[in-house]
């Protein structure tokens, strides 16, 4: 590695571990500050609670997505998986099934799809892009068949209570701790990182790439399922395509997190990414920005994270 001004300038960004946490926090702080000044209602207690709930949901799917990404795969169906969990739970709830059982079966349904994704990618050699695409299609068909296109309404209060703070945040923190523990302390996590970085080397090292790759899809499915449940609980109803938007947001947030906090801080990075995204979009919505422009902005943030990841990767290659 040549030592000159260029490499020296690039060093601080990579080797300084505190920056990976500091920069996202600073960005978040700035966002809150700016929007708070532009519209004081932004920092009102009610709005912050709202944003935190949104953050909980997006954070859950982002962590799931980030775990999948770190293993070198992608789960495009995570939004639909979140949704199908909510749909199944809601269908059971309105038929009088107990809240606990309904949620359990909803998450179970999502897990089945996670298993499908994992099986396709890890054991059949289908590219996860295509595999999760197929799963998306299948879920679309299944949910229409289950609901007939109707929105399921009047969900019981025992369920909707879970959508009110602090429950969503509790779920998120729980998921975060689990993911953090898993990815950054256990050997399993380390193996997943290795698989993502160099599949062939991992295989030669004796890592069981098929089993490990399979597992990540279970995670994204379960985390996604929780996010879907929270969403339905908050809305008090489950529309047919509930949760679809999560895929794009999880992807953007997870990538944003990877760029800011590096590929090794998976859970934390996803958290930062989702916080930034949620607070940014929330602020813009509050300013009355046209919803279609929000899509444009999400896309731009995404492009920015992409360019950012290229820049940081090019730096590491020297």
């Amino acid at each position: 590695m040549k030592l000159n001004a260029i490499t020296a300038a690039k060093q601080p960004l990579k080797s300084n571990k505190y920056l990976r946490i500091l920069i996202p926090l600073l960005l978040l702080g700035s966002i809150i500050l700016i929007f708070g000044m532009l519209k004081p209602a932004y920092v009102s207690f009610g709005n912050i609670l709202n944003l935190l709930s949104e953050f909980s949901m997006v954070g859950l799917v982002s962590i799931g997505m980030a775990i999948v990404l770190s293993a070198g795969q992608v789960d495009l169906s995570i939004g639909h998986i979140a949704g199908i969990s909510a749909v199944v739970t809601s269908l059971l709830l309105v038929r009088g099934v107990s809240t606990f059982l309904s949620i359990l079966l909803g998450i179970g349904t999502s897990t089945v799809f996670g298993i499908l994704n994992g099986f396709l990618t890890a054991y059949l050699g289908v590219s996860s892009f295509i595999g999760s695409l197929g799963t998306m299609f299948i879920i679309v068909g299944v949910r229409y068949w289950l609901t007939g296109g109707a929105t399921i309404m009047c969900l019981p209060s025992s369920y909707t209570a879970l959508g009110k703070m602090p429950y969503p945040l509790i779920f998120l923190i729980g998921a975060f701790l689990l993911a953090f523990f898993l990815m950054d302390t256990t050997a399993l996590g380390r193996r997943l990182y290795l698989i993502g970085e160099n599949l062939d080397a991992s295989e030669l090292c004796g890592i069981r790439i098929r089993q490990e790759t399979f597992i990540v899809f279970i995670f994204s499915a379960v985390f996604g399922a929780f996010a879907g449940e929270i969403l339905a609980a908050r809305q008090g109803l489950a529309n047919v395509d509930i949760g679809d938007r999560f895929m794009m947001e999880a992807f953007i947030a997870a990538n944003l997190g990877r760029v800011l906090s590096g590929e090794r801080l998976v859970a934390l990075g996803a958290l930062f990414g989702s916080a930034l995204l949620v607070f940014l979009i929330g602020g813009l919505t509050m300013l009355g920005v046209d919803p279609s422009w929000l899509n444009f902005i999400k896309g731009s943030v995404f492009l920015a994270t992409l360019i950012g990841s290229i820049i940081t990767k090019r730096g590491e290659e020297e």
Partner: protein, 311 residues
């Protein structure tokens, strides 16, 4: 040997599907229905073929999700304001190719990953479409133009002719010309292609431009087909087009993106939808079966190795 089995097994499955649908509803195997499938399929085919060109060079292109809708919206809008159709068509094709140039420039010259660039382009096009149409549908009432999409030539629907002609031109272009072989070389081994002196940057740019051109054509035909430009028309084709391309890798040139495969893939997707409708089965079974078909087809065509997606 295994490749032979895989290729033919899929076609056999398709044969069974056709037999099943005909059994359920004999009207499935009529000339009229055949024409209907081509009409429904035309735009999907053209879009999918455009994507295929880009994917043959080893890149990916999502921008059709926005370009098709944008072109359609502006087309409908300007036609209704009585601009001359020819100039509108030229203008919009230029716009579509322009998007292709943008994609190509960012991917080829700036070496940005095509996944992101084209998704970004899609969002930009969608935003522009929204700005132009405000989300409203613009109906076309010009009968002369609508005939282009509705009419028939020699007993076969115009739309069907469009898709077939596109197929033939592209097959010639990709498999019988030198630029076509360059596309395929770049897709096969980019470094080797560069070493041999093929201008990778130029040809990738060209691929995106061609794709853009085709999206433009599709964007113009779509409002003619449904008599109006519906908001975000491109989005309906987002997944089916990709699926058709992926299905295409299971046929003709196994494991590689190829033109005839994509065309047949799109045709099968549409045929599936058509057959399910004729069988009286609910509409939501279409995405279900398309998903199952996609997964089965790709699973058969893939080797068992785990593949990774890199960003």
């Amino acid at each position: 040997m295994r490749k032979r089995i895989s290729t033919y097994s899929f076609l056999i499955v398709v044969g069974f599907i056709i037999m099943f649908f005909t059994f359920v509803n004999p009207r499935f195997l009529t000339w009229t229905n055949f024409c209907t499938i081509f009409k429904q399929n035309a735009i999907l085919s053209i879009i999918s073929l455009g994507i295929t060109i880009v994917m043959i060079t080893g890149e990916i292109d999502f921008s059709y999700g926005g370009i098709v809708g944008l072109v359609g919206a502006i087309f409908a809008g300007m036609i209704e304001k009585n601009y001359t159709p020819i100039s509108v068509v030229f203008l919009l094709l230029a716009v579509a190719v322009g998007f292709g140039v943008m994609n190509g420039f960012l991917v080829s010259y700036l070496r940005l990953p095509s996944f992101m660039v084209t998704v970004g382009t899609m969002f930009i096009a969608m935003g522009l479409e929204r700005a132009y149409s405000s989300g409203l549908t613009c109906w076309i009432k010009n009968e002369h133009l609508l005939v282009i999409a509705r009419g028939e030539f020699l007993g076969f629907p115009n739309l069907g002719w469009f898709s077939l002609i596109t197929l033939l031109i592209l097959v010639w272009l990709i498999y019988f010309t030198r630029p076509g072989s360059h596309f395929r070389s770049i897709g096969g081994n980019e470094k080797a292609a560069r070493e041999v002196g093929i201008s990778v940057t130029f040809y990738k740019l060209l691929a995106f431009m061609l794709a853009g051109f085709l999206y433009g054509i599709a964007g113009i035909l779509e409002p003619l087909r449904v008599s109006g430009a519906i908001a975000y028309a491109g989005q309906t084709y987002l997944l089916p087009a990709l699926t058709s391309v992926f299905l295409g890798t299971t046929m003709f040139y196994l494991g590689q993106y190829n033109i005839p495969g994509t065309f047949v893939g799109a045709f099968i997707m549409t045929m599936l939808m058509n057959g399910l409708t004729l069988a009286g089965l609910p509409f939501y079974l279409t995405p279900l079966f398309q998903g199952i078909l996609l997964v089965i087809a790709v699973a058969i065509a893939s080797d068992r190795k785990i593949k990774q997606v890199k960003f």
